[in-house]
């Protein structure tokens, strides 16, 4: 008997995604400008959305129909280039006074993300009013723009948004002796780079898991001390920490585990190799998950989320992208009319010796 299934990335051809000619979004108010995307990346959260794997948690904080794409570098009407900070927080939503989180600069924790004068949408690319990066035109609030220096290529600039996520994660990790990074897709690799760039404020040993040769190569180049297959992680952590074992659980472990995968398996693995009192940081977007939390209780470990970034992270990311030449991680670009191929390529990036796949809008006729 042959079982049928929709494989990752195939949602582009069978799911809710389609290429269409639509009216460009209009600026919803003062302070909004038009941004014509040059490159727009395909993110893991985009793939989850296309394949219908996203949590229903998102229902009240997205609005349909929306144009995907939140990793964007584009042209402004004034001739400059800008990277989009896609979070749609109080400033972009016209919410005054800003919520408590935005008031402190923590726009990623905005408490009004579904309110104000915009339709709900946690980010550009998930909001019906703004358009998205996988298009020739979107609108952005001036608070969402970061100017791109002349010397920075489009390929480098499109990496700034995911790098900002990594920079934020490195800040959460802080100064610790040992960190495991689970997953060496774009986010995992950038997290390694951020940990090693000093934004992690002095991390000691970094061990990463990677499934594919291209991921191993990049993980080492970006600063991982050791890269192992996912199934080898527990042994690697045990050896590095002099830990003992109790079944699948290490008695010791690493100070922090950064989960850049977000699956039930990866979170469980994180809990099995994190030290008592340590922290598992969820950077990869998790979903509905069944977990045995007994070890968390018994070992007083923590699981904490790590979503997006603030403006400071973005500024730091811009520097890191330039310093580490992270534009090299853009492996392939596609025109919009080849979007099914692009999405499939992104979903199988590691297997196909690639890291970041992006749409190239620079040659689109309707720009």
């Amino acid at each position: 008997m042959v079982a049928s299934r929709v494989v990752p990335g195939r949602g582009a051809s069978v799911g809710p995604l389609r290429l269409a000619d639509v009216d460009p979004p209009e600026p919803p108010g003062d302070g909004w400008v038009r941004l014509r995307p040059r490159l727009a990346g395909i993110c893991g959260s985009d793939l989850a959305t296309i394949d219908g794997r996203s949590s229903r948690y998102f229902e009240p904080i997205v609005s349909f129909p929306f144009t995907p794409g939140h990793e964007v570098v584009g042209d402004l009407d004034d001739g400059g280039r800008a990277v989009l900070v896609p979070v749609l927080a109080c400033a972009a939503r016209g919410v005054e006074p800003p919520c408590r989180q935005c008031a402190t600069g923590a726009i990623n924790r905005c408490e009004r993300v579904a309110f104000g004068h915009l339709e709900p949408g946690l980010q550009t690319g998930f909001c019906a009013d703004t358009g998205g990066g996988w298009s020739t035109s979107l609108v952005a609030h001036e608070s969402q723009l970061v100017a791109v220096p002349d010397g920075l290529s489009d390929e480098a600039a499109v990496m700034v948004e995911p790098t900002a996520c990594a920079v934020h994660a490195a800040g959460v990790v802080g100064a610790v002796d040992t960190v495991a990074v689970l997953g060496a897709g774009t986010l995992g690799l950038l997290t390694i780079a951020a940990l090693r760039a000093g934004t992690g404020a002095g991390v000691g040993t970094v061990v990463a898991t990677a499934k594919h040769p291209v991921q191993r190569r990049w993980a080492v180049e970006l600063g991982a001390d050791r890269v192992v297959a996912p199934g080898e992680l527990a042994r690697a952590v045990r050896a590095a920490t002099g830990s003992w074992r109790l079944g699948a659980q290490l008695t010791g472990g690493f100070d922090v585990v950064v989960d850049c995968v977000g699956s039930a398996e990866s979170i469980a693995q994180g809990l099995s190799v994190v030290a008592p009192g340590g922290t598992v940081v969820l950077v990869g977007m998790p979903g509905h998950t069944a977990l045995d939390l007994t070890p968390l209780w018994h070992r007083e470990t923590s699981v904490r989320g790590c979503y997006a970034y603030d403006r400071a992270d973005f500024e730091a990311a811009l520097d890191l992208v330039a310093a580490a030449d992270l534009g090299r991680l853009v492996s392939a670009t596609y025109p919009l009319d080849r979007y099914p191929e692009a999405v499939e390529h992104a979903a199988a990036a590691g297997q196909r010796d690639a890291v970041k796949i992006a749409f190239d809008l620079r040659g689109e006729r309707r720009r």
Binding site: R235, R238, W244
Partner: protein, 536 residues
């Protein structure tokens, strides 16, 4: 009269040759006119009266030793150490020769009124033997008499309270052995000398020692300059053990050495008369009868239907009907000299000149995977450590030549027996395969890992440092050879070892031509049963 080993020149009429390949076999044709096969001797005639030979050896010892009864007296401490599960290979059918010797020693001890007797499995850094394995080695009667009271046990090389430091050799090598053995009035060591490397001073100085002591001869420099391990005078490993033997003697450790030799009847003498399930493996291919060929085809088909686990279990259950060919007892050096005469009589095969390409089939077992899995590191050790070193004079293959081995080399490890092997394979070999670099960068970390230490002491795990020794064992071959290819191995695992995978012997020989040219000489080392090439 058993026929001696010999060298066959391959010609057009030579049938396909048998290659062991893990839990399976291959039949391979080698090019006529430039290939030869080194065959082992047929099994030597066994002793008719083994128990009589044992008793005679104990009563009329060699060298300057007194007869064993004269060394036994009431109130003394007697320790009997015996070789562990790594010998012989495959295990021998009951009664194991160790049990017969130990019973004879115990009979004399009882007659002399000795009641403080300990029996120790001299396993050094090997895994602890299980109850079944101990029962097989010493016999049920001895096990039941001594194990329940704690007087029969596995040596623990990591128990600081049970080790005695006895000093250093003139070259600074620390000597530390079992405290019970060191403090006994008499240590009786019972050996099975399956190959020329075994026995002599190495028995006590290695089998009952600790990592602190072992590291002085189990290291890259020593093992690379042991050419070969089977030729004691040219073996740094043995020179070091001899020096340690001197320290033992100077410290007052009195050893009564008992060494036994077996013939190479690995797969069953009756096979030569047309019977036995593995009989044809003991025969030369052109002497296979139609019945042998049919049995081989049926065996191959049967093995092909078994799951890997059941295939392994089937092979591991084989018990060889070895015959005992000699028993020697007394002073260590005198005993060992006589033992080597018997070992050489069974194993040595004169071979003229070296070869460009050496081929060998690796069987399912080596000293470190009894009742276990032959993992890739053990494949390397068996091929480059043991088989490569089964020579006297010069290696069978010339410097810069090619070694081709057949083995499936699965990326598979026994999690209980070989935990540090897994880490060695995943971490160390992923980084480098150079023995010197491995020793410098990684050995200490593994040797002192508390978790490995715990598993060695309380479970059935090889010591944390053991995979390093396996790798060092092949250090000379690694330096000597121009290329190593494994036919039929898991390509990923073979590459991790630093070798080249090939799907067929023809492909392997084609690959070899890059190193040794298009018309190389080829020698097939037809082993097991064990042979040792005497290369002139």
């Amino acid at each position: 009269m058993p026929r001696p080993g010999f060298v066959l020149e391959v010609d057009g009429s030579t049938p396909p040759l048998l290659f062991h390949s893990g839990e399976g076999f291959r039949l391979e044709k080698l090019p006529a006119g430039r290939s030869r096969v080194v065959y082992p001797a047929e099994p030597l005639a066994p002793l008719d009266d083994v128990d009589g030979a044992i008793r005679a050896a104990l009563l009329a010892p060699l060298g300057d030793s007194a007869p064993l009864p004269d060394l036994l007296h009431p109130g003394m401490k007697l320790t009997i150490a015996f070789d562990d599960v790594s010998l012989p290979l495959p295990k021998m059918r009951r009664p194991d020769i160790r049990s017969r010797v130990i019973e004879a020693v115990l009979d004399l001890a009882a007659a002399a009124g000795v009641d403080d007797v300990h029996l120790i499995a001299a396993l050094a850094l090997h895994r602890r033997m299980t109850e079944d394995e101990l029962r097989h080695a010493v016999g049920d009667r001895v096990y039941d008499a001594f194990a329940p009271s704690g007087a029969l046990y596995n040596h623990d090389a990591e128990d600081p309270d049970q080790l005695a430091y006895l000093g250093t050799t003139d070259q600074g090598e620390e000597v530390e052995i079992s405290k019970r053995a060191a403090e006994s009035d008499l240590l009786v060591y019972v050996n099975i000398n399956i190959v020329a490397m075994d026995g002599g001073h190495k028995s006590t100085a290695t089998g009952l020692s600790s990592y602190r002591s072992l590291r002085h001869h189990h290291n890259v420099a020593t093992l690379e300059h042991s050419r070969s391990f089977m030729d004691r005078h040219r073996s740094e490993l043995h020179h070091s053990n001899w020096r340690m033997g001197d320290v033992l003697k100077a410290a007052g450790v009195k050893v009564f050495q008992i060494e036994t030799t077996l013939n190479n009847d690995t797969f069953g003498l009756e096979a030569l008369r047309g019977g036995g399930p593995l009989g044809m493996l003991q025969k030369r291919e052109w002497e296979w009868t139609a019945r042998d060929r049919a049995a081989f085809v049926a065996m191959q088909a049967g093995l092909g239907r078994l799951s890997p686990k059941n295939r392994r279990r089937t092979f591991q259950s084989w018990e060889a009907p070895y015959g005992v060919t000699s028993v020697q007892a007394g002073e260590v050096d005198a005993v060992h000299e006589r033992t080597l005469e018997h070992v050489h009589a069974q194993h040595l095969v004169p071979v003229e000149g070296q070869t460009d390409v050496l081929t060998m089939g690796l069987p399912y077992i080596c000293p470190y995977n009894v009742h276990s899995i032959m993992n890739p590191i053990l494949v390397m050790c068996l091929g480059l450590g043991y088989f490569f070193n089964l020579y006297r004079g010069r290696p069978l293959v010339r410097e810069g030549g090619v070694l081709i081995m057949t083995h499936p080399t699965p990326w598979e490890f026994h999690p209980v027996h070989h935990p540090s092997y897994i880490d060695f394979f995943e971490q160390v070999l992923a980084d480098t395969t150079d023995p010197t670099e491995i020793e410098a960068r990684y050995e200490k970390q593994f040797a002192e890992d508390e978790w490995y230490r715990h598993l060695y002491r309380t479970s059935h795990a090889y010591h944390g440092v053991h995979p390093f020794y396996m790798w060092y064992w092949g250090a000379h071959a690694l330096r000597h050879l121009g290329q190593v290819t494994i036919v039929g191995g898991d390509p990923r695992a073979v590459r991790r070892l630093g070798f080249r995978p090939a799907t067929s012997m023809a492909d392997a020989l084609e690959m070899a031509s890059d190193v040794v040219g298009r018309e190389p000489t080829i020698t097939h080392f037809h082993n097991p049963p064990i042979l040792m090439a005497d290369v002139t």
